[in-house]
Amino acid sequence: MPPKQRPLLWSARFVATLGILSLSFTGELSHGYLLFGWATLFLGVLSDLRPLHQEKLRTFETQAVILLVGNFLFDFFYRGETVFVAVAHFLMVFQAFKFLGLKERKDCLQMVLFGFFQILGACTLSVDVWHAMVLLLLIPSAGAALFWNESERQNEAHQTSLSVDSQKRYRRMALGVAWGALPVVLGLTAGVFLAFPRLTLNATVPGFGNSRIGYTDQVNLSQTGRLRDQGNPVLWLSFPVPGHRERWDGYLRGTTLDIFDGRQWTPDRQGKTRTLLPGPNNLYLVNPAIGPVDMRQSITLVNTSAATLFVSGLPREVIAPLPSLVKSASAGLTWTAPWRRPLRYEVFSSVADFRQAPTTEFARDPQQNLRLPAVSYEKTAALARRAAGRGDALTRARALERFLQTEYRYSLDLGDTIADNPVEDFLFNRKSGPCGHFSSALAVMLRLQRIPSRLVAGYLRGEWNGPAGHYLIREKHAHAWVEAYIEGRGWIRLDASPRLLTATPMERQWQSVKQYWDYLGFKWNRLVIQYDLYAQLRAFERLRSSSNRVNDGLSAWWNKSRPRSRGAEPLQDESSLDTQPFIFQGILLALAGFASFLLIRRRSGHWQEPPEVRDYRRFLHVMEKSGAVKQPSETGWEFAQRLEREQPANKKVVWDATRRYYDSRFTHSSAR
């Protein structure tokens, strides 16, 4: 069969397309591999039009597999990719051979399997809502592919080929299988998904990490190129209490970076930390001594690779399903146990206390935040003196913040070269950069002014999603700002970055559609991705309570409809009376089921008789009821002739039934 008429090939291509598509959504694979995959897919379709050299490719398959294994080892050991990414690269290139080469049945089946493995890999790499669409399309396309594979295998095994009529029937059957399977598989998938035990053993398998690109707890100035404006969702933030939304200043603190080595800001890993254990209902008392709670936040963290709890304000209490939390000296919260799923947590925080004294009981000495790396900052110090002017520490700090905001330009371009002193390069040469450069310059200038300062990495504002009633924070909203320690005021926030996230005209046009897509993603995340043991228990609890309600309703109806003797007093407890009818009904149902089972076994002979014979028996029964009884001495034909005379109105029915019976019974009889 030519390729363009071969259903197996087309269905296999479709599954493979879904595989590459799902990998493209993850954002984990390099663009080169993805581009290669797409290109070979389309080239493969074109090459099928003139399949001249496809056979030759097959001769290189063994060598290619050896090369691909080498590539896999290179990816895994040298480039440090996770197993999933390395396997995804391997599959992508191996699949290219299948796309371009000769496509026999087994090749098509391999294309389907590769596509499936790619989808599987993608599902372990990301949790985006795109996977819902891919999985939805996978069901009919994989069903059709497997059906055609089996059909071709049968033809191979029996050395037959389908006739034109059979091909048409098979096509109709494939459509039926593909789309008929969809609701059944969806229903069963939902059942398995809801009921399958959520144990989450978390056994570690070496190399099978789940690291993702995204937020990092460091600010590195030694980078070149251009930062990507990634749109992957990081977290969803909502305020369950009305009015709290207005109190939010738009900042979500993540990690505090105290140490600067001239090129990179990192947290103080030597500093004091405290491990917190949860109380009842996973409640952590983080800072119980602070004043009243100003803000309650509910956060769904989609990307948990940084193992950091993002919080607005100074957290007092946190409710999170984590085994433990680690509180740092700068009030940052992290966790250490492996957590690969989205995390939903609630924070009760104090905004006012944070603005006044965001510190902890074991805070490090602010004077430690005056240390500068062993690099000359003479020009920077002169610039800081000039820009800060005179006044108290707060005035000078605000002046420096304003100076950077007005005199420098925000840009995602990092340049092509790495300077020896990135801060001075930014301040005196480039004069533009991302938020990391602004905040680094401000922190250094503050330290040169003898004002303790530190960087904070976190997120800024995000997008308000009306349908969901949540803020959606994406990767592109990652931000770095500065906190300066002012005597008598504590740590205050300074944001020197003149960052302005503006939507492009295209984005504005599609904003409402995008909001609903994001909302879908939110629901996908909430209902599917976050479905865990607790959610499962809650679902079963709800099921039980609703079944109880139905039972109560039925009991009430039974008691209402049951006739009571006038004046009779209830002798037993009402509740035990309520359940009585259902016990009886249950027993009756069980007896009926058992009786029907016995009856079926007894009548099993009838099930095997041809329908014509059964119909004829029914016909005789009906005739008997109408007074025309077939005599034992009469043959069927004779009976029909008599009925024709006696009941001319039923002539057609009588002859139809008799003829069908005789045709079935005797025309095709054996020679015994």
């Binding site: 999985l135 598989v185 969806l186 998938t189 690969r340 029907s596 089972f597 054996s670 020679a671």
Partner: protein
Amino acid sequence: MDRTRFIAWARSLSTAPWRTLHWLLATRPIRFTRFGTLYILFTVGVGAGAINTGNNLLYLILGILLGFIVVSGFLSDSGLWGVRSSWRPLESCYAGRPALFGCRLQKGWFPAVGVSVKAHWSDQQESHEFIHWVPARGQIDFSVLVTPQRRGWMRMVKESFSTRFPFGLFEKFHAAERTDQWLVYPAVLRLNLQSSELETRRSDSKPAQRIGLGAVPYHVRDFREGDPANRIHWKLSAKRQALLINEMEEEADQGDRLVVSQWPKGLTPEEIERLISFMASFAYSLIDEGRPVGLATPGITLPPEHSRSHLDRLLRYLALVDLGSEVEQKGSARSLSPGRDIDVLKLWRRGTYAA
């Protein structure tokens, strides 16, 4: 819809729950294919991965994989449920000779796709046929070659239908015990009857002086419409430039009667089969030549005839005859006129006639 049809329809509705229950309770043997085994192992692996990581997308994929198994089971069962077959031989069956058996497959509400039909016969034989498609509420005919091994009743012991439809993950079977049986005539060979003894017997036969179906030409007449073409005397027709027909004289011969006055004793089963086969072949060859043949044994006496139905009667007796039975052992052959007796045992022992 008239009353009768309405009642039939209502009754068919009332049986639906019983059918459903029967469908649910029926046993369904399955066998894993290699692909199916790998599929199951892979599903278990995904399940283990899902339980280990708590990744809900893996749970979804696990659900899809399990869903495909259920869909596969449902569809394959629907494809096999309600398959009915009826078998019949398309020609007479002789021991040791392949016979064509026709089978009609009928299907209920769902079409049968890719069904393998296997018939198990009483003599350890199996017939196998692969059917691509049996339409819903339709039928399909096919035929298989079966070689019966011995005379007598050949039974179909069991019949099984299997399919790998729709995904090739499992092979599902539906088997049914069968009680159909067909008669297998003894092995028959066409014998060379040109021996001197038989020719002498033939030459003894006297013409009946009237037109008949004998071997001796009686006279020649003009061709008339409806005359058989094989009796045209071509040479004479060419000479006279008109079609002429050979007409044969009816033989006064009343035929041959194969006589076994007493069944021989002490024969091995193989020898008995050879003797029966020889008798059947002898009778078959004689009748095939147009000679009336009768049979006289301790168990049966059949007057000479040369019709097809007579040959069937004769072969049926030979197919079922049991030399050890009381009737065959204690009785004796009755010699009835007309016809001449041929001592079959003598001829068989002499081995005069070869195939």
